[in-house]
Symmetry: C4
Subunit: 229 residues, 4 copies
């Protein structure tokens, strides 16, 4: 168990290295804010570095976060080893942990992207799209390498709950049921995307949002998102 001194330690989050997890979380949040993905304190991101899980706090303006705001949790003990006293831990924490424990993810992104929300209103149990070049940016997971152009991308959609932490069990079920998915959509809420590394999580999130946006446009024009091959 961590001492109060450790819980206040800045050494875990202060670094001059721009790709230190605490710096990357802040940089990504500024970028996600520009994209409308973390509007009004919504959304967040977590990065894993071996036993250390770095987490953006709850309820803060994501584009104004500084490394001192970051929580750090031990993956093994599931206890905070750094906890800013004036801030609340993110309600997404158990959801990020599911991606780390079930999929051995290196980073997990949660956004309130309007493209994600709209697709959960336009699709039923799963989001599906095929035969779009951008699909090749996504992993197949159950086999090595990325998806092919004509592969069908399937992202499960789970129902939202009143409290974010209540999503954990259905998220875990969806991750187990769709072993080749690298993301889960949450109805009327947003999306969780994870990857083996921080960069891959970022790339997957971008590529998926591109496909969600394209799918909405296709639906509006009556074009099926899954192509007969």
């Amino acid at each position: 168990m961590s001492s109060t001194a450790t819980l206040r330690s800045d050494a875990l989050v202060l670094s001059s290295d721009p790709i230190h997890p605490a710096n990357l979380i802040c940089e990504f949040c500024r970028m996600f804010y520009q994209n409308g993905w973390v509007t009004g304190t919504g959304g967040g991101i977590s990065i894993r570095d071996e036993d250390k899980i770095y987490l953006a706090p709850s309820g803060v303006q994501k584009e104004r976060m500084i490394p001192e705001n970051i929580f750090v949790m031990s993956f093994k003990s599931q206890e905070y080893i750094r906890r800013p006293l004036s801030l609340k831990p993110s309600a997404c924490t158990p959801l990020f942990m599911a991606a780390y424990s079930i999929r051995n993810a290196g980073a997990c992104i949660h956004t309130h992207s309007q493209n994600a929300v709209m697709c959960t209103l336009l699709f039923d149990e799963v989001f599906e799209i095929s035969s779009i070049e951008q699909i090749k940016a996504l992993p197949r997971i159950t086999r090595p390498g990325n998806m092919w152009y004509s592969d069908k991308l399937v992202i499960p959609i789970i129902e939202n709950t009143e409290r974010e932490e209540e999503l954990e069990s259905s998220l875990r079920v969806a991750i187990e049921k769709y072993p080749s998915a690298t993301a889960v959509l949450v109805r009327r809420h947003g999306i969780y995307v994870w990857g083996e590394t921080t960069w891959k999580a970022k790339i997957y999130n971008e590529a998926i949002d591109y496909l969600l946006e394209l799918a909405i446009k296709m639906k509006q024009l009556g074009i099926p998102t899954v192509k007969d091959v």
Copy 2:
């Protein structure tokens, strides 16, 4: 009553502190301009710091404002304690004052957001949306804490008038009639949003604009904005 010397005083608005109200007003206006919320001199923002009400001037390019352009009014005396001689006070001033006096707000934002204008063309007496995660960024006001996911957000819509100051009485009526609203839409005009602090007003404005934008997309696809629960 203030002397002319006081009215010209720069000490009230010049500060090296980036979160001084005069600096924040300028920073927010630049940000709002990027979002298309204060196009062509429209819109504005006011911040209250105890007895001092800081106000952006009328008819200036909001993205080019500097602290010297800011008006300061005493909340108690309702008189200007700083008044840039070459500028006109904002016609929004009595509207901002309504939020300060009725709701004890800490800041008030006015935008010409196209999402706001469009929603006043698509909704009748009130804007309504429910069961969207982003709603949780908004306050319940009449009870402590924020709204729940399945709560219905209701924002009253008042009719526009030829002169902005003529909106005051209907705005006051709407604020009284909808005690849990933290915003009022103005038909074919825009929106007023306020909050307990500057940061909360900013977050509420962002979250509401996100919901207004989403509601337009839902309407276009024939999806009701209020969900049966």
Copy 3:
């Protein structure tokens, strides 16, 4: 008549003052590029300072312009007093001159805004909108002061021609026929907007583009752009 030495003079365009016309033209073009108004070398801007008319050149990437690229013409003699030898003068020059001579404008902006092009496909002889707050940012011209909220903004639409300079006569006719217009739309082409000063031309262009964008959204939803009052 100007000497070759004068034609190469940089003194007319090099200034450390950020609001010198040559600097403002470059700054505005970068901003217009971000807005998609001068994509792919399209569009331009001209500023008048007493007898000197500053003009962006033809066929250059507007966002990469530097003051050395600017042409300067004498309003009185209609001859260039500075002419960068490697560049071509803008084909818009006679159109800008029409705004200067007929309306005594201080600046004139030309964009290929998609909102402008779309409105020329959705409206017939004139673009019309009324009862939108943003209209109040625009001048009445034939009477002092700005437009009222319920005033109807009318912008004439002229037919495009193969060569830009061939637009001059119909532009002049439109300016004369619509004495209260501060802009002319060109079918399938874009828009010309002018104002008494550089800042006013910028504000009018922004406010009009906002109204053009809003009108397209209203048309798509079957809402009339002119309101019965």
Copy 4:
């Protein structure tokens, strides 16, 4: 054949000149990323400088590229004279080479623009648009000078393949069959655009994307993209 030492040489890509091809590729990729054209590692760009072909690598985040990441190939020998050992060459390389060899291009751009993808879903064998001023930014190629306003822009659409390099033969056929085209669309994939110089390729790509976007809006409103004249 190049020695290993040459293959690691940084001298080919490190320069303080901002318009050195390696610097321009990085700058353009950052700009294209902002436009959503190279989302999630998609897309790319190549510049030719006499015998040297500069190429962005495969599978990297295009907005974070640095000159050290650039591949350089000899046009004559078709062999790499610089090859970053940790990166993969772009699968677009044979497609860029087609533009260099058949059309003597100076630069070639490939994007995953959603406007391009949508137009390949809305048009059949070719994309066509006429009588839009922006067309005048594009070259006629088979005759000197640029297109006229009323000229019809025709861009061939080829079918996508599972592997990007498999596009080469149909791309070559399309380039030969449409001698006045400066671009080829790839169904459900994106677009290839080339030009005599780097700047012209950039301008053509921008002007074409503007026209693709406009064509989608016209289609949605039932307006034909080709005008009877």
